[in-house]
Symmetry: C2
Subunit: 574 residues, 2 copies
Amino acid sequence: MRASRFFISTLKEAPSDAEIISHKLMMRAGMIKRLGSGIYTYMPMGLRVIRKVENIVREEMNRAGAVELLMPVVQPAELWQETGRWDKMGPELMRVKDRHGRDYAIQPTSEEVITDVVRTEIKSYRQLPINFYHIQTKFRDERRPRFGLMRGREFTMKDAYSFDRDVAGMQASYKAMYDAYVRIFDRFGLQFRAVAADNGAIGGSGSHEFHVIADTGEDALVYCPESDYAANIEAAEALAPAGERAAAAQPLAKTPTPGKAKCEHVAELLSLPLSQTVKSIVLAVEKEDADKEIWLLLLRGDHELNEIKASKVAGLANYRFASEGEILEWFGTKPGYLGPIGTKKPVRIVADRTVAMMADFVCGANEEDFHYTGVNWGRDLPEPVVADLRNVVAGDASPDGKGKLAIQRGIEVGHVFQLGTRYSEDMKATYLDETGKPQLIQMGCYGIGVTRILGAAIEQNFDDRGIIWPASIAPFEVVLCPMGYDRSEAVKAETERLYESLLAAGVDVIVDDRGERPGVMFADWELIGVPHRVVIGDRGLKDGKLEYQGRRDAEATPVPVAEMLGFVKARLAS
Amino acid sequence: MRASRFFISTLKEAPSDAEIISHKLMMRAGMIKRLGSGIYTYMPMGLRVIRKVENIVREEMNRAGAVELLMPVVQPAELWQETGRWDKMGPELMRVKDRHGRDYAIQPTSEEVITDVVRTEIKSYRQLPINFYHIQTKFRDERRPRFGLMRGREFTMKDAYSFDRDVAGMQASYKAMYDAYVRIFDRFGLQFRAVAADNGAIGGSGSHEFHVIADTGEDALVYCPESDYAANIEAAEALAPAGERAAAAQPLAKTPTPGKAKCEHVAELLSLPLSQTVKSIVLAVEKEDADKEIWLLLLRGDHELNEIKASKVAGLANYRFASEGEILEWFGTKPGYLGPIGTKKPVRIVADRTVAMMADFVCGANEEDFHYTGVNWGRDLPEPVVADLRNVVAGDASPDGKGKLAIQRGIEVGHVFQLGTRYSEDMKATYLDETGKPQLIQMGCYGIGVTRILGAAIEQNFDDRGIIWPASIAPFEVVLCPMGYDRSEAVKAETERLYESLLAAGVDVIVDDRGERPGVMFADWELIGVPHRVVIGDRGLKDGKLEYQGRRDAEATPVPVAEMLGFVKARLAS
């Protein structure tokens, strides 16, 4: 490519609505252009990256035996009604009426349509397994779109759907997709981690997320450096502390803690470690045929509630946080001084595993400005219902028993699900088995956020000069920067010679023939993030040298003219 | 590709809603699957064709210097309001509200968005010319979607937009796109014709359509075999007949023509050629500040009205056909007996160029069951206003004076427009010229209906066994049909050897390893339309032969095993 025939448009400053580095750099590098809230035009420079991401995804999906098709953006509401998602999805699902008043969804994903294809196309067990995928424009009407391509409304997603005869088959298809994803993220050249995840609203029996590691990631990833264990913190089990609960050593005492409504302040006042305190979280559950229930969850003062774990406690599937009014009514005091002893009205108590192992702990006394100290299970209050309620913390024992957990931040870019019969049941997608009996098809689904990869790659790879693309998804692998392309015949001739030889070697190279000053040229390409640069100048040519500089290199390396092609190819291969 | 890893799904019968051959064959060959009215999933076999079409389009657009980007499907209404198209487009424009109640269009085309990109990105004359294109999903809410991909609602279109400093630049960009389109349709391997066209609702100063030639085409294409002249019949000029008008030879006579309300019947009754009769077409024009006008257009009995030409007569831009009530009120009689002589109320008369040259003609007498014969201009009624009102017919003189016109049918698959400042004016898209003065940007736009190409290619290339794809856009170039792949080691080994050698030669080959019976296998691939087939069987192998058959060949050609690779490559190259 020649820069003069391409479209390059860089900015000194990012627009003020760009909050995170990837958004800022993509705007400054002219990769995307905002059209509306969460809606972007992919400019020529950005589209090249998207296409490279798509091609890697496509190659590995094909290698894994998946078959590409293309499902429509505009999808009839009837199918979404069959699975109940027309109602369940809420305002995130963009809905549109045609000229005849018929309802359609603008697809956020395609489980319904692919299941409709399969239920008519697949008749016999002989046609299974099959895995269909497409790479298509999606729309989710996010409440608060932001972060550029990271949380846009219109985006490009690869979604694949596997169909199998039985659970074992589904699990094999799932494994094949998992392995394909590992190859895909390897080829992107990004540091990533696959973690066990919660299935969430999509349903089914198991899932993994693929995260690009980045300090700015929204998700906390839990892993064990000594084993394969890895999970999203939402799904990571916190084991009960090892050993026995210590015996009670202190008497129960109501202690004045005036104005100390937080565990941290109570511990400070009483000169106790925070890990000796217990905090109270109050939930409410509405009941159709009875009064609502109020629940009290107890966590150690230095631990955090895991809301997904809470929802898995029997009876808490549809909980909400209690209002201040409800707290006053059930506890007789305001938040900050709540505890399990002597509530005003009966509440259902659940203690986190760690709390259940504590002795002589501190908790609120259900009276303003007072806490109990020396609280002990079995003595001061009955043994509690126990559950895993908290987020793990670094240093916790790994659930596989093989070491201690560490935590890092990640950006979710892929998700694989074992769906089972979640969709085939609603939509009556069956096949005839060897005996001619209809059986429900077992499904899996597998997504990669194609456009989100760009944001995640940048969050992981940038410096104060701009983006640093891995070569496999860079808009160009190599840029040639001739110093005085229009002034020096020698520079122009050597530039053209190297350009042609790189093209002939299959290298994706751009030559900057715009005639810009070196400073502008270098700043542009460092901002855009092309990983390899060759400078062709009269001064170097006098000594028979060109200058190579990798995007992460501190300085340029002089390379003899005749060796540059081999040098660049070696760098690309490494 | 191996058929066992692909998805092949053929049907014996087309669904009943498929009216035309391309729709029937695409459904039967499993290329598309209906999701809703005018909305199709592109199945794996169809998607392969679409991708090949897209790639040819992309390569030639890039070669012509256009730069690819990708504009969103969901576009803010504000931009469409700036050009007035939000109101003008009517129900064909699919509209959607987001969760905040803001209006969006689902793009049918992208003039507004690209002009918005350009008005902020292009500041100086130095950045011009530029040509941006994308290949993207479009939606048009057709009143009556039909014919499969030929008139779908959701479809894929390539749309390019050129931006220039002045009219000469725009015309050069237009020419470059025209030439690129010729290369594109050449590479498709389709018979096509570029014709001058009317700009229609999109506005601007000139346009050409690209048509795939097919007897089933909706458009009539006019061309001169002796010259370059070619136009859509909508835009083809009908010259005035050469020579002078004959002198009046007959007296004006009111002649009874009971029950003969059509020119054909009147001519038959009076034993006159149809070309001696004149038919009356009555139009109405509503006026804001005055009574409506009634117009009478006169055409020779054997000619057809060209509605676009009528709309270009001064005063007729917004005409409609008159109602029977209006006709009675203005002419005093019912349709079938109307004419220019003695109307009840005054009407404005326009005669087609041919009619203006007629003498002693026949027309209605404005009295039921009566016509006038021997009518002559200047004697029986004043010389008329004259205009070109009719469709040309085969044999008419070519407007370039170089021969006689011929007519063939075509399917419109591409359209190039000189837009001028139609959009840049409304959207204030300007650049600064050398003197620092803002100037309106001159635009062109260029569309290709990617998915429609499939339908058009089939309408041009099919037989009673199925589709016959040109090799460049076939889902596969070559199919290998082993007879007894699973039973004969020799067949399997030779099949695999040939498969690998074709792959290594860069041929897009599929091997049918499904183990189907030969009859099923041959019928499937003839229906799907793969252009080259090689049969590998034990009987042939005994003589060291394989069988080659082109999709249009009447019989198979035996080819020695060792020569088959070269034979197929030669066929692909020819």
